[in-house]
């Protein structure tokens, strides 16, 4: 039994639930059996990967669905061994090169080279190129991106690249201009609702429209999240009721409590407790960027309108620091301390004003 997200993932371009026009275009694109390098971008949970897999299936047939996990080790010129996981079928290879951290450039160069240099054996029945799917291209270092640009030109005859990322802003211009950019937007709330309803129908469940809408809204139109939420609701209670509460993930609840702890008291001791909670979140694999984002959202909803600008500014400042800096905790803690100071001052001023 797999997750609903995987179970009901469409595999044909024709069967996609939304962005049908785009699906049609993609179908036409691969009709002639060839396509340029693609840069697929869009927010998380919009269906980028689904579309890419559909495209590959259109191209190569059901053989692309036979996936295997490969564990590759690449030796960098500096004799450093880099280990990386990849997922591959006979026709394509999927790699998240940013897993390799700073040595992603080597991964890009070596991996694509090995793929590109091996010719397809039966080119009569197959396509004459393989596809390399690179995920999280926006997290590659600049070095790696430049290496990628060179590789793209060099091995055009034997391989096609599909790049997948959330935003093109961190992808360098030369790569953007060498690819056909395909933006996959988030589905609208109605589309999410219809997907949820159809999935539930296939599961033999009855999903009230109101609940579907609430799930869609709560998930932020992230379809993957919506389906996971829906499945969690199913575990929590069935038959569904329209007003049942949608379970949050533990870390979201935890983050909310942390925000409450910050708002309820502002003292060094409390900051110490908050720090322990931040550490706890970090050890549970919640990235610091997500923590600060979630924290700001919670805190902003808790504080007065006058403060919002100041708090948001501090948050932006420390988020920036977080990206540049080394040790996240300094910046997270500095933000919390800053908020505490601002909030406390505001409350005290308010009290004084009341006294007068």
């Amino acid at each position: 039994m797999s997750l609903w997200v995987d179970k009901y993932r469409p595999t044909l371009l024709g069967k996609l639930d939304y962005h049908k026009e785009q699906a049609n275009q993609l179908k036409n694109l691969v009709q002639c059996g060839d396509f340029p390098h693609l840069l697929v971008y869009g927010p998380s949970g919009a269906g980028k990967k689904t579309r890419i897999m559909c495209l590959l299936r259109e191209l190569y047939g059901p053989g692309v669905e036979k996936l295997r996990i490969e564990h590759q080790s690449i030796t960098a010129p500096s004799k450093k061994k880099i280990e990386i996981n990849s997922i591959a079928s006979n026709y394509h290879l999927e790699v998240n090169a940013s897993d390799a951290g700073n040595s992603d450039r080597v991964v890009i160069q070596e991996l694509i080279k090995t793929v590109a240099q091996s010719q397809q054996i039966q080119s009569s029945t197959q396509r004459e190129f393989k596809v390399v799917l690179l995920t999280e291209v926006d997290r590659l270092t600049k070095d790696a991106q430049h290496a990628l640009r060179r590789t793209m030109e060099k091995y055009m005859s034997t391989c096609r690249l599909i790049l997948c990322c959330n935003s093109t802003s961190k992808v360098i211009g030369p790569i953007r201009s060498r690819c056909l950019a395909v933006r996959v937007a988030l589905p609208s709330t109605e589309e999410v609702c219809s997907v949820l309803t159809s999935v539930c129908r296939k599961e033999g469940l009855l999903l009230p429209g109101e609940l579907a809408k609430r799930i869609a809204e709560k998930s932020g139109r992230n379809l993957r999240k919506a389906l996971l939420m829906c499945e969690a609701c199913r575990v929590q209670q069935y038959p569904f009721s329209a007003d049942q509460d949608i379970p949050d993930t533990d870390w979201e609840v935890y983050l909310k409590e942390t925000a409450n702890a910050i708002v309820s008291q502002q003292s060094p001791q409390r900051l110490l407790e908050v720090r322990a909670r931040l550490y706890e979140l970090l050890t549970h694999c919640i990235p610091p960027e997500i923590i600060i984002k979630g924290l700001v959202a919670e805190l902003l909803s808790n504080c007065d309108g006058h403060l919002k600008a100041e708090v948001a500014q501090a948050a932006a400042h420390y988020e920036h620091r977080l990206q540049l800096g080394n040790k996240a905790i300094y910046h997270l803690e500095a933000f919390v301390a800053k908020f505490m100071a601002v909030y406390k001052k505001f409350m005290e001023d308010g009290l004084d004003a009341m006294m007068i």
Binding site: M1, L3, D6, K7, S44, M53, E65, L67, R68, I69, H71, K81, I82, E83, I84, N85, E94, N96, D99, A100, G101, S103, R224, K225, M229, A232, V235, Q236, T249, W251, E252, V253, Y254, S267, P268, L271, A276, Y279, E280, L282, T283, H284, C285, P287, I290, R321, L324, G325, N326, K327, I329, Y330, H331, E333, A334, A337, K338, M340, A341, K345
Partner: protein
């Protein structure tokens, strides 16, 4: 002493005579005389004393004999020459408890231990072990020797054998280098084996009764100061030998290990705490010699020497002694050595000739001077402080605990002098009294990288603050300093600035401690080790493990960690293997509605060196993919038996134990529909 070592000593003497001619001319010049007994100068009283003991027991050492003059001999010129050669550390080695510069309590402690363990009744089996630690030159060995003398027991000391001890004759030594007879040479026994042998023999056999000696008591202590190098690499070796000794031993065993700040070869490494508890090792830790008692010793030596030499010794004045005292940072051996050097008539250095470098003096932190300054605010003492020492200056060092304390407690001095301009009214909140510490110096002396020091500060600063606004400011400075060192290419340069920003920022922003008189509040607060290193390591390991375990979901790390894992924890979706289940139990769930107890506060004690696994913090370290050897295809039985459901969320997570799926072998067909 064992037969073996006696033979060794004999060959040593042979060797030294073989070596001597080439250095003969060195020894003739009177100006260089003080350097002649090299051994004695370099390693001080302990070594040469032991040599003396060895010399009268084992072979004769001609070179040594010359350096030990007959104290009762006539004071003719030649002998006084020879006398001048003798290092003062040897000549003025303490011979009674009163002479020792060590604190009375410490002496008493060691004495009590010795008294308690010297006379071991035959029925009580087992040897007692004492571990003396402390910085070098604080009188550890001297204390043991003096006490042993007073208690009438012998000190039997281990010294590392030389490799050349195997060569019985000069010929055999030469033969080793002769390719024809290469099989003759180097029939060595490992140092470890020899050490064990030594302990055994020292334990079992008494001393031979030499003719003409009085009846000696059977009491003796075994002293080990010079541990075989092997033990530094493999402390377990030492531990095994010790365990055996503790069972079999009959006489007390004393280890003397100097503290060192690098930490790797320190007593903690050799004698970890659990071993100390297991074997009942009694640990006495010495402090650096206090300036007052050092001053007393130095003055005594100077007066004695002045009387003896009759004006041939340039007697330094009190200020110079003071400087020596502070410059040596509690190392009495180096203080005496430099005293002797500075007293040499030929090259005596006038105090005025000492370079008045305006560098920040090591002394400024030394307690002695700060006390002196607070006592007498004379300009003289501060002047003295400013000129650095030409000879015998020793790099002072601070243990992390004290270094942190200096920053966090940030002692200030009330400024009474009116010439210091005060800030204008609108800036008055930034008015601070003068600091008694120099933050950069403190960081430098803590022998840590600025980044690591900042981590320690960050862990501990909150307890010292009372106002949130101050905290906000301090944390901002910490954030700044992290930002400064973000770029790896410039990190080595920026590190100092970073730590400067952090320490000074923290000191300044603590407005509760802005003034000297507002500092009475406080009292002792325990310090702790930083969590961050652990947390970030765990974060990376967990992310890594998540990647490995859930590759088949084909998700980016972000959505894997924030969406899939937490929801998987809530779903009743059967997992493929035990490792995944355990991982989700551990990482996917958070202990809600209670404050986390996962991170234990680890108190930082007095002499702890800094953490050294800093390299784990290195950026750009390649992803640590777990070894493919431990596969989950065959899940270990231990994990099978462990009920994953019974694992509370509070169980400490051990991501390393989650073995990744079998990487290469698993061909998994996965349907998308």
């Amino acid at each position: 002493m064992s037969k073996l070592s006696a033979g060794r000593k004999a060959s040593c003497s042979k060797l030294s005579s073989w070596v001597e001619p080439s250095f003969g001319d060195l020894f003739s010049g009177p100006g260089l005389n003080s350097f002649r007994p090299k051994k004695g100068v370099s390693s001080g009283e302990t070594e040469s004393k032991s040599r003396k003991q060895v010399a009268d027991k084992g072979g004769q050492r001609p070179s040594k004999r010359r350096a030990v003059p007959d104290p009762q001999g006539p004071l003719d010129s030649e002998l006084s020459q020879g006398e001048q050669d003798e290092p003062w550390v040897d000549r003025h080695a303490p011979c009674s408890q009163a002479d020792l510069a060590v604190h009375k309590k410490k002496i008493e402690e060691v004495e009590n231990w010795l008294k308690a363990h010297l006379d071991i009744k035959p029925e009580t089996k087992g040897g007692a072990t004492l571990l003396l630690t402390g910085p070098s030159g604080c009188g550890k060995t001297a204390t043991v020797r003096v006490l042993a003398q007073e208690l009438g027991c012998r000190v039997q000391e281990w010294s590392n054998p030389l490799t050349t001890s195997e060569f019985k004759t000069e010929e055999s030594f030469r033969d080793t280098f002769n390719p024809d007879s290469r099989f003759n040479g180097f029939l060595g026994v490992s140092q470890t084996a020899e050490f064990q042998e030594f302990l055994l023999r020292a334990n079992k056999y008494g001393r031979l009764q030499m003719l003409g000696e009085g009846v000696t008591s059977g009491r003796k202590v075994v002293l080990v100061e010079d541990l075989p190098n092997q033990f530094y690499r493999q402390p377990a070796c030492l531990h095994d030998i010790l365990r055996r000794f503790v069972k079999m031993g009959r006489c007390p065993l004393i280890f003397i290990v100097s503290d060192c700040l690098s930490g790797s070869s320190s007593s903690r490494h050799l004698f970890p705490r659990d071993l100390q508890e297991e074997l009942g090792v009694w640990n006495i830790s010495f402090n650096p010699v206090a300036p007052t008692s050092m001053m007393k010793v130095l003055t005594r030596i100077v007066t004695q020497e002045a009387a003896r030499s009759g004006g041939r010794v340039a007697v330094p004045d009190k200020a110079a002694l003071d400087l020596l005292c502070t410059g040596s940072s509690g190392d009495i051996r180096s203080a005496i050595n430099s005293l002797q050097f500075s007293c040499l008539t030929d090259c005596s250095l006038e105090a005025s000739a000492w370079p008045g470098k305006k560098g920040k003096v090591l002394a400024s932190l030394s307690r002695g001077v700060s006390r002196a300054r607070s006592k007498s605010k004379s300009s003289k003492s501060s002047e003295l402080q400013d000129c650095s020492q030409a000879i015998g200056g020793k790099d002072a060092s601070l243990f992390l605990f004290r270094a942190l304390g200096k920053i966090l407690y940030c002692k200030r001095e009330r400024c009474t002098s009116p010439e210091v301009p005060s800030l204008p009214a609108h800036l008055s909140e930034h008015q601070r009294d003068r600091l008694l510490v120099d933050p950069e110096l403190v960081v430098e002396k803590s022998h840590m990288s600025g980044e690591l020091f900042n981590l320690y500060l960050q862990q501990n600063y909150l307890e010292f603050f009372s106002d949130v606004e101050d905290v906000a400011r301090a944390s901002e400075y910490l954030s700044d300093s992290d930002f400064l060192t973000a770029e790896w290419s410039s990190r080595s340069t920026m590190q100092e600035y970073g730590s400067s920003v952090a320490t000074r920022g923290m000191i300044h922003s603590n407005s509760a401690r802005a003034h000297a008189d507002s500092q009475a509040s406080g009292g002792f607060r325990p310090l702790h080790k930083p969590h961050w290193l652990l947390v970030s390591k765990k974060y990376r390991e967990n992310c890594q493990a998540a990647q490995c375990l859930f590759t088949s979901y084909c998700l980016t790390p972000l959505s894997l960690q924030t969406e899939l894992l937490p929801y998987l924890a809530q779903l009743t979706n059967p997992m493929r293997n035990q490792a995944q289940i355990a991982f989700i139990q551990d990482v996917g769930c958070l202990p809600l509605r209670k404050y986390p107890g996962r991170l234990k506060l680890e108190a930082l004690t007095d002499k702890d060196p800094g953490m050294l696994d800093e390299d784990s913090e290195e950026e750009g370290a390649g992803p640590v993919v777990p070894t493919p050897s431990d596969t989950t295809g065959s899940t270990p039985p231990t994990e099978d038996s462990a009920q994953p459901c019974s694992q509370g969320p509070g169980v400490t997570c051990q991501p390393a134990s989650h073995s990744p799926p079998p990487p290469r072998l698993c061909w998994r067909t996965r349907k998308w529909s």
